[in-house]
């Protein structure tokens, strides 16, 4: 016998489909943002939970994937802000998990030494391939801040900025 309970929500069906289809890609994005599997899984879960709550208004009006990626970027910098002190202590690049195939530059490990916002800016720019204007909107900062954070991060990583930079808006 069924108990009195809240009605099931129609959008749950499609939300589940969305999660099934996109969770893997979102987790990988989370991994690039956070640099470790545990945080990536947490971040992806939390962002998908929020998407689930917002699903009825997101689904037809906006782009759910964009919503969840934005949520992940924002959550990432806010969580990092809170844990900053601890993380800075552990931020010395570890050489143990180095020399992975495809990254003979050591860049992946050195990304771990960046403050979260700088890392997020680089991920959005070079992994998500977004313009500085879009990054500014996602992170809720000015375009100037995006530029200066990116410049500082690239400088720290000793990445030479080529002609790519000039095309940015």
């Amino acid at each position: 016998m069924q108990q009195i309970r809240p009605p099931n929500r129609p959008w749950d069906v499609e939300f589940t489909d969305f999660v099934a289809a996109r969770a893997d890609a979102l987790y990988r994005y989370g991994y690039v943002l956070t640099g470790n599997a545990e945080d990536a899984a947490d971040l992806t879960q939390e962002a998908l939970m929020r998407l689930g709550d917002a699903w009825p208004r997101i689904r037809k009006r906006d782009d759910p994937e964009g919503y969840v990626r934005t949520t992940m970027a924002r959550l990432h910098i806010s969580v990092w802000r809170r844990l900053r002190r601890e993380r800075l202590v552990a931020a010395v690049p570890e050489r143990a998990y180095d020399d992975r195939a495809g990254d003979d530059t050591g860049l992946w490990n050195e990304l771990k030494g960046l403050p979260p916002r700088q890392r997020a800016v680089l991920v959005l720019r070079y992994y998500e391939d977004l313009s500085d204007k879009e990054i500014a909107e996602i992170l809720g900062v000015s375009r100037g801040t995006v530029r200066s954070q990116a410049a500082r991060a690239l400088d720290k990583l000793r990445v030479r900025v080529t002609a790519l930079e000039t095309g940015r808006v």
């Binding site: 016998m1 069924q2 108990q3 009195i4 309970r5 809240p6 009605p7 099931n8 929500r9 129609p10 749950d12 069906v13 499609e14 589940t16 489909d17 999660v19 099934a20 969770a23 890609a25 987790y27 990988r28 994005y29 991994y31 690039v32 599997a37 545990e38 990536a40 899984a41 992806t44 879960q45 998908l48 939970m49 689930g52 709550d53 917002a54 009825p56 208004r57 689904r59 037809k60 009006r61 992975r100 495809g102 990254d103 530059t105 050591g106 860049l107 992946w108 990304l111 680089l122 991920v123 070079y126 992994y127 690239l154 990583l157 990445v159 030479r160 900025v161 080529t162 790519l164 930079e165």
Partner: protein, 478 residues
């Protein structure tokens, strides 16, 4: 170390993403579990206007025609709200038995209450029913896009035509504004709106004469006052309760919001009535019984007489519905006329619709087949409206061939008088066999081979007409 450039950074990030270690546990399963666990706590619809309810098919297998000759007729099954001592059907055990609910289609029970209306206005905007204004007038919003109400219209079910009552413009300069609850007062219609997609604690109120005209913004509120739950409107004020409890008012001529002393913990039901349990599907107050009903105009308080063992009792000015054990109960606020409602248990709305009717979903499961799979009667109505005045039940909604279905209730701030659905819309599950290699997998695992079955559920058909039941057209005593 050699010189690095941006291409190296792109490669490093993409490479790391491709090589990401497998997450611990399965994400989709984890999400489903977390959502299920907290659905009781947080099942609040973000847009207050999202009011389509869904009955999930009870059958674990595809529904079958239990009554092959019964297409369109009600299910001829007996015993509604009759003898409280009669055993209640338990679908998990009652192999081959039928549910003990007698449900005729609403078109036979209350023919005057049923009408079909176009699903869209002439300009293509979609209608969303709000509530009945009278036995023959339906208040609708017309939406330019999903849940973006832009116009109030009145549909005359006798003349079968709609007239525009007012535009719903939204405040200038406010981005992401959405109209939420609309409330019908004696002389005017009021609504509130907010920006649900940002975190601003902000809401505003609007009013237009019931005869139509130009809508006018009454005022804006911020902070805790903006957590609007339900509203009411009189000749002089707009009233609203907030989610944490408490009632405010603001003059229709504008001005500062004012907290109404003595309304701590109160929630509006339908002006002037308020009660002492949280509204909607918030959850925490789910099983708590309403103990009182307050008339904010007269100051009169009615004490609800709840029987021992009652749960989730919710009362309008006259009738209360709730649960006791596995059954639903109905009574008057003073405890008289108490009855159990065998076979009706899954209440879809918790406050009486139009102050009088209860609304239940119906599982449609009639038993199990030899293999132990539940059998769902595809002709059973999706849901049931129960009238305590006459004891009659009426079947509403359209069940999908595969079981379950969707049904909407009007989006008014006060409990609505409208239930509606789209007869032609159905959910269809489609499965196809795909090569496993098309499914994303970690590049570190060996490439899987073979075929897999991928299923998705989509909605098909519909979008032309809505079938609307207006409970204001049910005769008061018939």
């Amino acid at each position: 170390m050699r010189d690095r450039n941006e291409e190296d950074l792109v490669r490093a990030l993409r490479g790391a993403a491709d090589d990401a270690p497998e997450p611990v546990g399965d994400l989709p399963t984890a999400i489903t579990e977390r959502r299920r666990r907290r659905s009781h706590r947080r099942a609040r619809s973000v847009l207050a206007a999202a009011a389509v309810l869904v009955v999930i098919g009870g059958g674990t297998a595809v529904a079958r025609d239990v009554f092959p000759s019964g297409g369109g007729e009600g299910v001829s099954i007996t015993g509604a709200a009759a003898d409280p001592s009669s055993p209640v059907a338990d679908p998990s055990e009652a192999a081959g038995k039928t549910p003990e609910v007698s449900v005729d289609p609403v078109a036979e029970v209350w023919p005057k209450a049923v009408s079909t209306i176009p699903a869209k206005a002439a300009d293509g905007w979609k209608y969303r029913p709000i509530t009945g204004l009278s036995a023959t007038e339906l208040l609708l919003t017309a939406e330019s896009s999903f849940e973006k109400a832009g116009r109030l219209e009145v549909y005359d079910t006798a003349a079968r035509k709609s007239t525009v009552l007012a535009e719903m413009p939204g405040p200038p300069g406010v981005k992401g504004y959405f109209v939420q609850g609309v409330e019908v007062g004696a002389d005017s219609i009021a609504w509130w709106g907010e920006t649900p997609n940002n975190r601003d604690e902000w809401a505003d109120f609007w009013v237009v004469p019931r005869t139509g005209g130009t809508a006018r913004q009454v005022g804006e509120v911020t902070g805790a006052q903006a957590h609007v739950e339900r509203i009411g409107v009189t000749a002089d004020f707009v009233f609203w309760s907030v989610r944490a409890g408490g009632v405010y008012r603001m003059p229709l001529t504008g001005g500062s919001p004012e907290y109404i002393t003595g309304t701590d913990g109160l929630h509006l039901l339908s002006w002037p009535w308020a009660f002492d349990v949280a509204n909607g599907r918030e959850g925490e107050d789910w099983d708590r019984n309403q103990t009182k009903l307050f008339n904010l105009e007269t100051g009169q308080t009615t004490v609800v007489n709840a029987p021992d063992g009652a749960r989730g009792l919710r009362c309008g000015p006259a009738w209360c519905f709730g649960a006791s054990g596995d059954e639903s109960i109905v009574q008057r606020t003073d405890g008289s006329d108490r009855r159990t409602l065998p076979g009706l248990s899954n209440m879809m709305e918790h406050t009486p619709l139009a102050g009088r009717f209860a609304f239940f979903s119906l599982s449609g499961v009639t038993g199990r087949d030899a293999a132990g799979e539940e059998i769902e009667d595809a002709h059973a109505p999706l849901a049931v409206v129960y009238d305590p005045v006459t004891g009659r039940t009426a079947g509403v909604g359209k069940r999908n061939p595969s079981g379950g279905g969707g049904i909407g209730t009007g989006t008014s701030s006060s409990p609505t008088s409208i239930i509606y659905w789209d007869e032609d819309r159905r959910q269809v599950e489609e499965c196809k066999v795909e090569d496993v290699s098309s499914v994303p997998a970690s590049p570190r695992d060996p490439a899987p081979t073979g075929k897999t079955r991928v299923c998705s559920t989509t909605e098909k058909g519909g979008g032309k007409e809505l079938t609307v039941v207006n409970l204001l057209a049910v005769p008061p005593t018939e």
